[in-house]
Amino acid sequence: MNEVRQESLDRKPGPDASGRRLLAFLTPRGGGWQTGLATTLGVVVALGLSSLLIAVTGGSPLASVQALFEGSMATWTAWTSTLLYAAPLLLVAVGACVSARSGTFNIGQEGQVLIGALFGAWVGLRLALPGPLLLVIVLVAAALAGGAWAALSSLMYRIRGVNIVVSTLLMIFIAQQVVAFAVNTPWLLQESRIGDAIVSPQSNPLPAGALLGSVGEYPNLQVNGGLLLALVGAVVVAVALARTRWGFRLTMLGLNPLAAKHAGVRVNALGGMALAISGAFAGLAGAVLLASPVGVNRLQPGIAMNIGWDGLLVALVARNRPLLTIPVALLFGVLRSGGGFLAATGVPPFLVDVVKALLVLAFVAPPVVIAMIRRRRAGVRTARAESRPAPVAERVAL
């Protein structure tokens, strides 16, 4: 019985159909030009509000925008730092897309990033392996740890019905303390002094063999290995979601779990797996932060730097489309690297967080608003139609 149903679902579409499906996948759903227009308007309003805020508080909006640009895009060195920020953001966002597609909202990425970094550091410092092999093992360990951390929430939901959103949220705070505990404990990872200076607890630096190098070095622009990893991840997930049996089932599960169950999808296994995958991507982001070609390469309690939260926002702005997360992650990378530069002009870098939140609102709200307006209009129309007595034949048909 199930076999028959699945066969009809998996029937290979012709080349024409697949092309159309890819296009449908790339164009924002449910809205067309109205949503595009509303989103553009929203972005303009968000940027206007931010400029107003700068102007009211005595800064110069133009100088701030210029500083943002110079810190993130004006030189190849600035681009390098932008790409460095974009890589972990992209990884987190791609993972968030997977769980969101399955109808699960994972908001614990910040904790999964930390746990990934913790296990990556632990493996990287304890295993004496030659260079590239060690790097691979660090990445795998981080992904597995992040995935397992997310899977705990899934397990709690399956066994006792614990709300996933709330449990993933609470697990962030537990992860923070686990990492703080780990770096404070000598038998895990502690280095409290470098030379003669006493520093706050952190791990030893990762050996050089475990670091992600740059994959492409042009005179001044460096493309870091983490970015390559993230791009590959985004494309693989996009293709898997759009073109594989697994992706189809996952989307079906997200759209209508009951229908998916009746169609023979193993709902629990698939949903739990989706959450674990999103955690694994977040864990991988933690390893990328840890093994980044620049930076301290030590596990520190503050290593996650809100990358988990921001990655989640990236996925929201990209409306859970893995390929769209690439430009959005780049935009957020620009805001991050430019934000550091902003401080030099006297405008506090926290302003960037305000801009980010307003931008997210500008991207998230329009499709919902458009949908609501349409629904209202349709509602008015049906209400008018209902006020007239329908012909008898029509009533019977209904």
Partner: protein, 304 residues
Amino acid sequence: MIGADDISTILSSGIRLTVPLAFAACGEYLAERAGAMNISVEAMMLGAAFGAVATASATGSATTGLVAGVLIGLLIGFVHGNLSHRLEINTFVIGLVLNALVLGLTSYLITISSFDSHQVSQVSIPWLRDIPVIGHPLFVERWPVYLLIVIVPLTWWLVERSRWGLELRAVGEQPQAADVTGIRVNLRRRQALLWCGALAGLGGAYLAVGEVGSFNQNMTAGRGYIVIAAVIFGAWRLRRTLIGCALFGLADAMRLALPALGLTMNSQLLVVAPYLFALLAMLLFANQNREPRALGQPFERGST
């Protein structure tokens, strides 16, 4: 060993850490009973704390600051309600965005401005404050603490005894059925979020102009999330929620007091205790069906 004075000190710092949580938890409890999962409590508390300090500094009166904090909480509740229960954008998304927005905004504004320190006055109740051990912690407090005596019963009465509360609970359990009987589901949820905003604002403002007297960047530091944890810990019952708040407040106080007492205990363990409690409570109570059935689910007319 630990003497009566030490117990008294821990108790009084425990109470001071509990009070802001208790205010916000009353609001969050009411909102969640209406089915509105509100994760922007953090934003409400933080925004209110900033507003309270700014207003107190501008007017020179800490009480005005307290009122301003409540108003800011109301404003955030209003915005959250309209975005998530009028426009029907995912409530978790709105909560996240508001938390990020308020954190960024307050951090930005505090770096470019400076405020005078103001605190509300302390009230000391004669006779009762002379009771050993518990006298001083309980009866020498900043006056907003005693608002709890009014607000807790009022919240309980609103939810459990008033007609509005009956409808509110119906909205949290069975929005479709409530809608059929003519209750405006999303309106009720917006009203619940206003109550939540006002009380979370009071909690945040109390933290700022009651305890600390000034505003620091991210001064609520996750207290909003603890409030959510307390409501879950209390299995959506007001009394247990307040017990949860007290436990979290005491754990916090212990963390601060233990090193001074010369006791070594793992501070990470004490920080993480509230969250572990909450998760364990969820694991234990989840099967009791105490959770409002429509919690966190948007309501759209005619969807089912």
